[in-house]
């Protein structure tokens, strides 16, 4: 595929009628849609106001988050037609953002941060991955090379370029942090309760096996009783809020400096019952992140939290109250260091001609372009160093970090 850096007009063409062929071409090469001359981004290198201890937390949402249920484009009249059930399923008022976008009602803390200008939602992003497999999509997003490399991740390469120390809150090193020179992993040691989602999956898997199904159902009933007991609930380890709490503690430890961390949260593959499931998941995410902020204390001001997912979901709701694998999704930047309070990313529209393959939200920008910008402005990576991190993507010019 040929590289196409000089095409500054792509963005207009893109938002109107980008074909699959063009998307493929663009995603495989530079996706330099919103890019302006690079020099302005790197002007920050000379900035005296550089933070002494800038931190990055990378939160990976595994399972493909449905962006249209997260940052709702209330202005887009197509939405109601495409999602008659989902659009009317919110149990509280949507939380307003600019340009007619609104956050899901469960994302209360995130909305609070938006108002404090510490949250940047970015709509219609992609990593450039063009298929719809979770595994490959996640590996692709984590490796950052616009191809899958199981042995090296973007956060590892970024950390190494500035001799940063990284922590994976995980039992083993995820791809994002592989090849890093200073990477540690940490996870609560006791056997934790599995994620709720696995029980739903197993319940389906056991539909032809009555004995296993019966045991699972009574096992869940017992756990259900246990969970209403508050003292016992606290003992459940490995829940997202416990992980963010511990992560904050490790990040703000003065003796053992840690510059970045990675957290993972699964359960976003909402093929059915999406409204209820996402309501719970957003609660978990929102409260977990609030715990992270709380635990970081004054370090919050030096922190950028990057929250991303492998791809988005179909624009139309399916027959089981859910959505299927799609393409563009959303990216959040949060934290005291973020120049927030606005919604970034170009809105591609939802009418049939504007969709990718007539079913998915069309991507209008590349996640790496935004993350690369954060690395440049927050960690002062040079354009040379960024080439190592995201070899095929140009960084967008936008002030994402507070000066």
């Amino acid at each position: 595929m040929t590289k196409n850096n000089s095409n500054n007009n792509v963005s207009n063409e893109f938002s109107t009628n980008l074909s699959r062929r063009k998307f493929v071409k663009m995603a495989g090469s530079s996706l330099a849609l919103l890019s302006f001359p690079m020099s302005s981004v790197f002007a920050f290198e000379a900035n005296n106001n550089v933070r002494s201890n800038p931190k990055i937390v990378w939160v990976m949402l595994r399972g493909a988050l449905d962006s249209l249920h997260t940052i709702v484009p209330t202005f887009d009249t197509q939405l109601k037609n495409l999602r008659p059930k989902l659009f009317t399923s919110f149990k509280g008022p949507l939380l307003p953002l600019e340009k007619g976008f609104a956050l899901h009602p469960s994302l209360k803390n995130l909305h609070q941060w938006y108002q404090e200008k510490a949250l940047l939602p970015i709509v219609a992003v992609t990593s450039g991955y063009q298929q719809r497999s979770h595994f490959d999509g996640q590996d692709f997003l984590e490796s950052g090379k616009s191809e899958i490399d199981h042995d090296s991740g973007w956060l590892a390469r970024a950390s190494d370029s500035k001799a940063k120390r990284a922590l994976a809150v995980s039992r083993s090193t995820p791809i994002s942090l592989r090849s890093g020179k200073q990477v540690n992993t940490w996870y609560p040691s006791k056997l934790k309760s599995a994620d709720d989602d696995i029980y739903n999956q197993l319940n389906k898997l056991y539909q032809t096996d009555a004995m296993l199904r019966e045991s699972l159902e009574s096992g869940l009933a017992v756990r259900g009783l246990v969970e209403t007991d508050k003292t016992k609930k606290n003992k459940r380890q490995g829940q997202f809020i416990d992980l963010t709490k511990a992560c904050a503690k490790l990040l703000s430890n003065k003796d053992e400096r840690i510059d970045c961390a990675m957290l993972e949260l699964g359960g976003w593959d909402t093929h059915n019952n999406q409204s209820n499931r996402l309501e719970k998941k957003f609660d978990e995410l929102d409260q977990g992140l609030a715990e992270l902020k709380q635990g970081l204390g004054s370090e919050w001001q030096n922190t950028v939290v990057v929250i991303g997912t492998e791809f988005g979901r179909t624009v139309k709701e399916n027959g089981t109250g859910g959505t299927d694998h799609g393409t563009a999704s959303t990216l959040f930047l949060a934290g005291g260091a973020v120049n927030g309070g606005k919604v970034l990313g170009e809105w591609p529209g939802l009418s049939t001609g504007q969709l990718f393959e007539q079913r998915d939200l069309m991507p209008t920008s590349n996640s790496y372009g935004w993350i690369g910008n954060v690395l440049a402005q927050h960690w002062q990576l040079s354009s040379q160093e960024l080439k190592q991190v995201f070899p095929k993507v140009e960084v967008y010019n936008e002030v994402l970090i507070k000066t």
């Binding site: 979770h134 996640q138 296993l212």
Partner: protein, 455 residues
């Protein structure tokens, strides 16, 4: 969805050879077994061996004796005594741990795992538990010293080795069982202990319905009086010893047959005859078929195995070959839910972990309810699926599967599924594993799938 209507998988012949009879596929075993599954599984029944550097039961005794001696000397100094106590316990515990790990790892890495399953079967058949300081050290030595050397030979040799092994003699209190009319009993007011004799009849040979009477228990108990262990503080070395002065004099009658007074040979002949009793053949063949095939093995299968047993002096290899040769053992539908031990070993074989943490491996068995040498009963762990399929046991398996999948970020669930189960996967399971939201979830679902849980 269309996948809801799919029926569950049938097992291919290769999968039966590898997953039902062995500990589960490792590497390309399914491919190797494919062209001739029966021939392949029969060729798998090969001699196996342990690491030779670990403690022998004699070492355990010597260490224990040293401890007892020092304990006497230190009786006045309480604080030193507790320190000693701990030291000795650590020795026994370390020995137990090392030996338990050795067995597990050999089973996980073996290229002929069916032999390791057979070893585990007999180790559980002759179950001993860690009860007290001495037994903690001794428990794991029984399968190494008495069972494994006789694993592929005649059952009577294994039976004799087991009943004369210090671990079994101490576990079931025979080391202090003396004939009421023996010189030791008269001199020191000691008597008969029927414990081992009763379990030999009830659990090790004839089975509870094997047709023996209380009098047979007493006669066998008398026949093996004087079968004891050395005390290294009073005698040279350690190990089994026959104490003629503790042996009950006179002729014994067991199951109607008379045994002349011939010292140790009296009890030995009783055991050899017990091994060849039709009731023993019946009981052992049933247990083997129950373990390797199904909770309800077919009468035809049992008949073939029993005939082989009786025609071949209870030769274990021949009996296993009879099982492998019988079509009734190759039923296509999965027959049995794996025990925690089977599940953990088969999962480890399928995942082929490069690094393994010994402590975590043992903890896995503890968490899932099958701590080695801790059945707590001479009957051993249950081999019935209903005893392992409880709700909380299943939840623990799910947690374990999720945990181990969390360590394996690189694992390719599709590849693991192909190697572990081959074609023996239902469409539903295949779809759900492939459509899982993450690699971790895919692997958890695979491990928890009915196809992987059953064999």
């Amino acid at each position: 969805m269309s996948e809801n209507t799919m029926s569950s998988a049938v097992m291919t012949q290769a999968s039966i050879a590898v997953n039902r009879f062995g500990y589960g596929a490792r590497g390309d075993e399914l491919a190797l077994a494919k062209s001739s599954p029966k021939k392949w599984i029969k060729s798998q029944l090969l001699p196996i061996s342990f690491i030779t550097t670990l403690a022998h039961s004699n070492d355990i005794f010597m260490e224990h004796a040293r401890y007892q001696k020092q304990k006497k000397l230190l009786k006045k100094n309480k604080s030193l005594e507790t320190k000693m106590n701990k030291m000795n316990k650590n020795f026994a515990r370390t020995a137990l741990k090392e030996m338990s790990i050795d067995t597990l790892k050999q089973a996980i890495h073996s290229s002929h795992s069916v032999s390791w399953r057979l070893l585990d079967f007999f180790s559980n058949h002759f179950s001993v538990s860690t009860n007290g300081r001495l037994m903690t050290g001794l428990a794991a030595t029984l399968e190494r010293e008495a069972i494994l050397p006789n694993l592929l030979g005649n059952f009577e040799d294994m039976l004799l080795a087991v009943e004369q092994h210090p671990a079994m003699l101490i576990y079931l209190n025979n080391e202090r069982s003396f004939g009421p009319n023996s010189r030791i009993a008269k001199k020191r007011n000691k008597g008969l202990n029927e414990n081992l004799a009763r379990e030999i009849l009830e659990l090790h040979t004839l089975g509870v319905n094997g047709g023996y009477k209380q009098n047979d228990v007493v006669e066998l108990a008398k026949g093996i009086t004087g079968w004891s262990v050395k005390n290294p503080n009073k005698e040279r070395n350690a190990g089994f010893i026959f104490r003629p002065y503790g042996h009950e004099p006179g002729t014994r009658t067991l199951l109607g047959k008379k045994y002349l007074p011939k010292g140790i040979a009296q009890g030995q002949q009783m055991l050899r005859d017990l091994a060849m009793q039709p009731a023993t053949a019946k009981y052992l063949c049933y247990k083997l078929a129950h373990h390797f095939v199904s909770d309800n093995p077919s009468p035809a299968l049992l008949a073939k195995m029993e005939t082989t047993w009786l025609n071949n002096q209870g030769n274990i290899t021949q009996v296993m070959h009879a099982l492998f040769d019988a079509d009734e053992a190759w039923i296509e539908s999965p027959q049995k839910y794996k025990t925690p031990r089977d599940f953990i070993i088969s999962a480890q074989r399928a995942l082929a972990l490069k690094k393994s943490n010994d402590k975590a491996l043992l903890n896995s068995l503890i968490n899932l309810g099958q701590q080695p040498f801790n059945a707590g009963s001479p009957a051993g762990f249950s081999d019935d699926e209903k005893d392992w399929l409880g709700a909380s046991a299943l939840m623990a398996r799910i947690d374990w599967s999720t945990m181990i999948s969390g360590y394996l970020k690189r694992a390719n669930a599709e590849k693991v599924m192909k190697l572990a189960l081959g074609e023996s996967v239902s469409d539903l399971t295949y779809q759900m594993v492939m459509r899982a939201e993450s690699r971790q979830q895919a692997l958890s679902l695979l491990l928890m799938s009915p196809e992987f849980q059953r064999r």
